[in-house]
Amino acid sequence: MTTAALNLSGDPKRKRRERRVRTVFQAAAVFSVVVSAAIVLSLIGRAIGYLLEIDLSQLWADGWFPRRGRFDLRTIVWHTLVVSAIAMLVATPLGLGASMYLSEYASPRARRILKPIIEVLAGIPSVVLGFFALKFITPNVLSTFFPGTQQSNLLAAGIGVGILIIPLVASVSEDAMRAVPSSLREASYGLGAQKWRTSLSVVFPAALSGIVASLILGLSRAIGETMVVAIAAGATGGSLLQVNPLNGGQTMTGAMASLAIGSDQVVGEAGTFDSLFFVGLLLFFMTLGLNIMSERFVKRFRQRY
């Protein structure tokens, strides 16, 4: 048989199957976009409905008491910031310290043992940390140092959320530090710098954008974390705006959980239940903004090396 007699266009049945398979996989990929659209639509519709239902001055009322029609945004946003700030104070030193040790100091063997332990911490469900914050951190730790601590308080919730995001901060910033080319370290050693000097003055600045990305990602997780706050910060009813982290308070997620718990018997002023969607939309955009920001930082350090 000569080559000219061969039909190289392929079996039409086989080609049709190829197209079918491709379409199926493409549909699966497009489905993820449908999910996003569904999230945004389901939030926006009822969030607008909520805004129309209430009087806008209610958003600046005295405290967050949705059943009484008082939806003070300052209260829940401020408490969210307090909890997130405490969480970052816990997670930043511990997460960055762990990541620098793993990336610069640990021998391969030590790394093989220590890294999975950090990963185990990442696998602890947030309800567990919430209970730990309520029944261990508050009574056994905080009450010892601060006698006036309330049973539910923002500080314990913040520490619990901080513990939860340590592994995230550690693993993302470790990746950033390991991505720093070893030629930079060798150059530093060549100039006579010691290991600690190299780690802190060469590797750390070189990995900075990745490290910042890990912190922004951690902050985004802290803002969206629900269960720790719902259990340890006191998520029932409502709360007044207050600045003492040793007292209880409601964050955005805590307020949502509190409304969700009573979702079938919510009675109260107009818009009580729909406020859930408005706060959810706000939360969605806050975390989206932070995630996009951290992506930018990650891209910047990927381009450099």
Partner: protein, 312 residues
């Protein structure tokens, strides 16, 4: 030098001779502080586990396996986690059946088929952002879409709604892990397959997927473990948050899933954690111990798959 190794490299020899025999105090302090931050995290983990075991021990000592097989009850001395375990297991079945094929399928499209078009870039960016959406927001989606809009299919607050909500929640994470697994498959393998005349799908089916499968399975199992511990979205997707509920009278397994009330293990823990009575502290801790043991089993399965695959 802070970290002596068996075979010193030129770099280390040079830095050793430059620093002389003097002890590097600052270096030792830095190394200590860094190691300390790992051990603080470790200490927190150990404290947490010990605290749960101590608080929950009496429950296992007094009641043994009865705690695991009992249903919910307003009486802490009789309440158990059986309904929570049942709900969680069925929820995971939904996650596996819905999110696994969708996630892997989408990853195959993105890694193997898609060209670098605007649509592809949008899907990838969208996937990354979806993975960062707080889980309670997925709860709102579950409530609006599965509990209310599609109530004709899901019967409202049932395991179907909860399962679909969790499946949608883990979908982007499933996509990301599967994409990474596919990306790790060497390009030469695909070229060799095309070279002997295989089509794209034949190449994927017979050469790419078998190589990527262990990594895909490990990633998926870890993702499922994450869904197992998730509770915030279920608060909105209809899980029952009370000390008692019963299955629809005189019904079988299927109706139980499609029509009955449901709860999940983390939801049971949450409900008990917020009860004011002292007696609930012990059973909450005991419930957490059961939850952590089950998670350990799931994670162990992932490690087992990874080890078996790497031995081949």
């Amino acid at each position: 030098m802070t970290v002596p190794t068996k075979t010193p490299t030129t770099k280390e020899l040079v830095s050793a001779s430059i620093s002389g025999k003097k002890t590097d105090v600052v270096g030792a302090v830095v190394a200590f502080v860094l190691l300390l931050s790992i051990f603080v995290s470790l200490g927190i983990l150990v404290t947490l586990l010990a605290d749960m075991l101590i608080k929950g021990w009496s429950v296992f000592a007094d009641r043994g396996f009865d705690f695991v097989t009992s249903p919910l009850s307003p009486d802490p001395a009789r309440a158990g986690v059986s309904q929570g375990i049942f709900g969680s297991v069925i929820l995971m079945v939904f996650v596996v059946v819905v999110a696994f094929p969708l996630g892997v399928g989408a990853a195959i499209y993105l890694e193997e088929y898609a060209q670098d078009t605007r649509l592809t870039r949008f899907i990838v960016a969208n996937m990354r952002n979806l993975a960062g959406v707080p889980s309670i927001v997925y709860g709102l989606l579950g409530f609006a879409v599965f509990v209310q809009l599609l109530s004709g299919i899901t019967n409202g607050r049932t395991l179907i709604s909860g399962g679909l909500t969790l499946a949608v929640l883990v979908l982007p994470i499933m996509m990301i892990t599967a994409s990474e697994a596919l990306r790790a498959v060497p390009e030469a393998l695909r070229q060799a397959s095309y070279g002997v005349g295989a089509t794209k799908w034949e190449t994927i089916r017979h050469h790419v997927l078998p190589v990527a499968l262990p990594a895909i399975l490990t990633g998926s199992v870890l993702t499922i473990a994450r869904a197992f511990g998730e509770s915030a979205p279920l608060l909105l997707a209809g899980a029952v948050l009370s000390n008692f509920f019963s299955a629809p009278a005189g019904t079988g397994f299927v109706t139980h899933v499609t029509e009955g009330d449901y709860t999940a293990l983390p939801i049971v823990v949450f409900n008990w954690a917020r009860q004011p009575q002292k007696e609930f502290v012990a059973i909450t801790a005991a419930g957490i111990v059961v939850l952590l043991v089950l998670l350990l089993l799931v994670n162990g399965a992932a490690i087992y798959i990874r080890d078996r695959a790497s031995r081949k």
